[in-house]
């Protein structure tokens, strides 16, 4: 359960593929409870990530995480930019003393919470990152668990982000950032040799 530049790149490419394939769906999820751009934001972001990794092969894991973070921070444009960006920046920092998935995701999860101020139950990507980072720490992660985390946001009332303006009306809709985060975890478990 350790990360290398190679399997990180494979994982991120798989994530990019899913985001690109599901671009319209992610933006659709963002329409009733947001501004309808999450798919476009993320697609722009992962494209920039791939271009960055293509343009300059990272020397090590830390450099790879940093390139990914910088591409997301500068290209996403919406709230998910600094949030995903912070997640990868924290992994970059952590990767200096550990390449363990569990350690890296714990750092990323903490970074997202610090950056956005959301906690579990606020109907954000934290509702995927927090439980799934914990699963990774306990040694396994399944697609069913990913689906459960993503789906748990449906009935929640948003406390952070644009959906929070809707109060109770935000209930009954999946959170788009939770969905895209779900793809990140699915891509992770689908990448051979990581878990």
């Amino acid at each position: 359960m350790a990360l290398t530049v190679d399997n990180l790149t494979e994982w991120i490419n798989a994530f990019a593929q899913k985001v690109t394939d599901k671009k319209d769906y992610l933006s659709e999820l963002d329409t009733p409870i947001g501004d309808g751009d999450h798919g476009n934001n993320m697609a722009r972001g992962v494209k920039a990530v791939q271009e960055s990794l293509d343009a300059k092969a990272p020397a090590d894991l830390t450099a790879a995480f940093k390139q990914i973070a910088m591409a997301l921070i500068s290209k996403v444009g919406g709230a998910s930019g600094p949030l995903y960006g912070t997640a990868f920046l924290e992994m970059a920092k952590k990767s200096k003393d550990s390449t363990e998935i569990a350690d890296l995701f714990a750092a990323a999860d903490a970074g997202i919470k610090k950056r956005g101020g959301a906690q579990a139950g606020d109907k954000t990507m934290v509702d995927v990152w927090e439980p799934l980072a914990a699963k990774l720490a306990s040694g396994s992660l399944t697609q069913a668990e990913i689906d459960e985390a993503v789906n748990s946001t449906e009935e929640m009332i948003a406390k952070k982000g644009r959906a929070s303006y809707l109060g109770e009306r935000s209930s009954g809709h999946l959170d788009p950032g939770a969905m895209s985060s779900g793809y990140l975890f699915t891509a992770l478990i689908e990448t051979e040799g990581i878990l």
Binding site: G34, G36, D37, R162, L166, G167, R169
Partner: protein, 122 residues
């Protein structure tokens, strides 16, 4: 009874810019704006505000403004309008954004006004 939003700012760019933020979350809410004086300088114009009320496809309007003098012109335009105009002393951008989000979701006016209360700062 359809509900719309009218934005009034001293600055033409702000008045024209805010609807760009609102349409993202409220594509179906009628939005109009009035910015600057008749000559396009910094200030407000009762005539422009009246026009923004008239041009709004809704027959009941939630109006938001930046500074106090805009409110005075808004009230004059309100008195002259045939439409029902609600004027809110909330933060301009944040109040209008909240109202737009909620109207788009079909929230009734009374509930929208409840959500606007904590944003009253004038």
């Amino acid at each position: 009874m359809t509900l719309g939003i009218t934005i009034v700012s001293h600055v033409p760019d702000i008045a024209a810019g805010l609807p760009k933020l609102l349409t993202q979350v409220a594509a179906d809410v009628p939005l109009t704006y009035a910015g600057g004086t008749d000559d396009g300088d910094i200030g407000t114009s009762m005539a422009k505000i009246s026009q923004a009320f008239d041009d709004n496809a809704a027959d009941e309007i939630l109006a938001f403004y930046d500074l106090g003098s805009a409110k005075m012109n808004l009230e004059m335009a309100q008195e002259m309008s045939d439409k029902t105009i609600h004027l809110y002393d909330t933060a301009l951008i944040e109040g209008a954004y909240t109202a737009a989000s909620l109207l788009e979701a079909g929230v009734p006016l009374a509930d929208v006004e409840e959500q606007l209360k904590p944003l009253k700062i004038k």
